[in-house]
């Protein structure tokens, strides 16, 4: 592809455009010339790869900065963070933001913000929304109940078995099956109905958990491992 308005932009001009410091005529040229615009896109693509690979790769985590702020790190750990803060602009900004957040007075007025629920079909970054698979009809057997509920989130399967208990309540047994099963040992399970937390549980070393005496109603489960995204299983109907 040739430049539509030769001469084509120089690499210096493209670099300036990448940095946002180019003359207006450069941006005009890029708006009208697909060839030079494609060259700029290629340059930006390389830059983006570098940024993605390197962005704050050697910075302490936000949690480490928090523990430094709270003064609960060991002296060598604190010393390392102090040294890093002295030379990292982004961590300095984040630490200042943390300090301001922690020292800000809570508003005296009672604040009851609206609580949006999980929007169906919306991908929440940092969470995986599990998909409920259609339930298999089972034969009516003496003492039998309905088939288990199976939810999938990526490569993770969550199998849920709701058994009726006393006073119309339900015992929910769950099982997480994942390729990286170890990551799910000790994961936190939070059970909500109508937005309210009813119970929490911890996955055992087989990925299993049990919640007893739950109302037979629509339920949301959140499963959070120590590392990795949370999985949300919305709209589990415990009444069926």
């Amino acid at each position: 592809m040739d430049c539509s308005f030769p001469p084509p932009l120089t690499t210096e001009q493209l670099s300036e455009a990448t940095d946002g410091v180019a003359e207006p005529s450069i941006y005009d040229h890029l708006a009208r010339c697909p060839s030079c615009a494609a060259r700029l896109a290629a340059a930006q693509s390389f830059e983006q790869r570098l940024n993605r690979a390197l962005y704050r790769w050697d910075c302490p985590t936000s949690q480490q900065l928090s523990e430094y702020y709270l003064g609960i790190l060991s002296e060598p750990e604190a010393e390392a963070i102090r040294g890093h803060l002295a030379q990292c602009v982004r961590c300095g900004e984040e630490f200042a933001s943390l300090r301001a957040f922690m020292t800000a007075e809570a508003p005296r007025a009672k604040v009851e913000p609206a609580r949006p629920s999980v929007l169906p079909g919306r991908l929440q970054l940092g969470e995986l929304i599990a998909r409920l698979l259609p339930r298999t009809p089972t034969l009516a057997l003496r003492g039998g109940g309905s088939s288990p509920i199976i939810a999938e989130a990526g490569e993770v399967q969550i199998i849920l078995d709701a058994k009726p208990g006393a006073e119309g309540k339900v015992t929910l047994d769950g099982q997480v099956i994942a390729p990286d099963q170890d990551r799910w040992t000790g994961a936190l399970v939070v059970v909500r109905q109508s937005g309210e937390v009813l119970q929490t549980a911890t996955l055992d070393d087989l990925g299993g958990f049990r919640c007893k005496a739950l109302p037979a109603a629509t339920t949301e489960l959140r499963l959070a491992p120590a590392k990795g995204p949370m999985i949300v299983v919305p709209d589990v109907d415990l009444s069926r």
Binding site: D19, G20, Q48, E67, V89, S97, L188, V190
Partner: protein, 232 residues
């Protein structure tokens, strides 16, 4: 009767009562809530953690809304309420509970978990993802460290080899590691670079060197560089 021998529901009820007093700026007794946290985290009692969640969820939700960084994310507050509690749970359970020997420290730690849930999210995602353009088959990156730090250290080591000049190395760090724009670099390193144009000129020189390096391109998973700069 000692605190540790009181039934959980009594501890939780007293904690809720004392928390309400605290919210109303009245004198309050911290021992019941501390005991509740101890049972939830040090002893790992699920029922106790449920009570902690129920009593403090409102505070945590308010903290999410208080932190200005939350608005940048475009996410629902629920994401960070849950992420904050999860982080708190994993950070202080078992022997780690000893990090916070009093209730005010526990609550401060919980508040920092809200901050770090949001801040870490912003770090990971806001830098290079335009949410409006996410397609249906976009692969969700994880909140945990999904990048290969070993690869990052190799890439950075190579960049340092290619930028032996101390100023170039600092500029490369500012741009590629911290993601600083030229005006931010000028503001934070006054006297080092006169203006944004000087920075752009220096970056151009660095970029040319980096783009042509076959080792760096291989580390970034790119094909060989073109022979000329025509595709710049």
């Amino acid at each position: 009767m000692t605190l540790a021998s009181l039934p959980l529901d009594q501890i939780a009820q007293r904690c809720a009562e004392e928390t309400q007093k605290f919210r109303q700026r009245q004198p309050s007794d911290t021992q019941f809530c501390f005991e509740l946290f101890r049972r939830a985290l040090a002893e790992g009692l699920d029922e106790a953690f449920t009570q902690v969640y129920q009593i403090y969820e409102r505070e945590v939700l308010n903290w999410v809304y208080q932190y200005h960084g939350f608005e940048q994310t475009g996410e629902s507050a629920d994401l960070f309420v849950n992420a904050g509690f999860s982080q708190f749970y994993f950070a202080l359970r078992g022997p780690n509970f000893a990090k916070c020997p009093e209730l005010p420290q526990l609550l401060a730690y919980l508040k920092t978990c809200v901050f770090s849930a949001i801040a870490q999210y912003v770090r990971r995602y806001q830098k290079d993802i335009d949410v409006e353009h996410i397609g249906p088959d976009w692969d969700v990156p994880t909140l945990s460290d999904s990048r290969d730090d070993l690869a990052a250290s190799e890439i950075w080591a190579r960049i340092c080899q290619l930028t032996p000049d101390e100023g170039d190395q600092l500029l490369a760090r500012c741009r590629f590691v911290e993601g600083l724009k030229p005006n931010e670099i000028v503001a934070n390193y006054p006297g080092r670079w006169r203006d944004e144009r000087k920075i752009s000129v220096a970056l151009h020189r660095i970029r040319q060197r980096l783009r042509r390096d076959p080792v760096l391109r291989q580390l970034l998973g790119l094909e060989e560089a073109p022979r000329d700069d025509s595709d710049w």
